[in-house]
Symmetry: C2
């Protein structure tokens, strides 16, 4: 009975961890915003650019960013106005791919570097700590089916 916490204290602990996680996520979010501030690019556009490693159907982007297709149209328009992406026709003629322009690729590089440098995980954790953290975060995201090995 020594090592098995009762249900209530497990809940309390999970709540405490949740609060920590939320605080970290908020920190990460504002880190991201601050990192890209000099680039004069709204956060959602930056997030979209980071997704565009390869030209991709707008539909795929909607899936990856978990948002509506109409919002992708909106983002694509804004990115187009800035000359950062172009719509290119797909094989299936209903489909349009979004592809970074040359300027878009350069911007992606800038975003990526700025964000990594300011990253709270870089600033506050040692190499050892980061190595310990990775498998735990992966465990949180493992598929629903796999129950935790209690």
């Amino acid at each position: 009975m020594v090592d098995v916490p009762d249900a209530e204290s497990r809940f309390d602990e999970a709540r405490r961890l949740s609060r920590l996680l939320i605080a970290i996520a908020e920190q990460a979010k504002s880190d991201f915003a601050e990192a890209i501030a000099p680039l004069d690019l709204p956060v959602p556009l930056a997030r979209a650019i980071l997704q565009l490693n390869e030209p991709a159907p707008m539909r795929d982007l909607a899936d990856h960013l978990t948002c509506d297709r109409s919002y992708i149209t909106n983002l694509a328009d804004q990115l187009g106005e800035r000359g950062l992406v172009a719509r290119v026709p797909g094989d299936d003629r209903r489909v349009k791919l979004l592809a970074l322009t040359e300027a878009g690729v350069a911007m992606r590089e800038q975003i990526s570097t700025a964000v990594a440098e300011r990253n709270v995980l870089m600033r506050r954790l040692s190499d050892t700590e980061r190595q310990a953290l990775a498998p735990l975060l992966e465990a949180v995201l493992r598929p629903e089916s796999s129950a935790p090995p209690t």
Copy 2:
């Protein structure tokens, strides 16, 4: 030189962890929303209620939720309409405290339970994993001044 990753791979690793962290935070956010959906209460109101352990000046709430005082007025109005909180005068007569009503306390209990039960950290991590995770999350949030022990 074996154990010291070069700068580039450290960046890559931090980026990977960041993506994981963001994915988890999004999961946690939608878990929260789903958990409280049956309660028919908007997310920001639920978050505010969770803060109101004790009656607190509206100003304090603004600090804890890191938002503008005017928004707290907004939240307090909505919570008031639902009969969940009441404004009570403070000693300093400029100050108003927000206090949960009886219905508010009951709602807080419901939110708290629903959220803890659905919590992704409860669902996917073992007790052991949660115990390992806590100090790492705390390290991420430690004050800027304390450099990581590389």
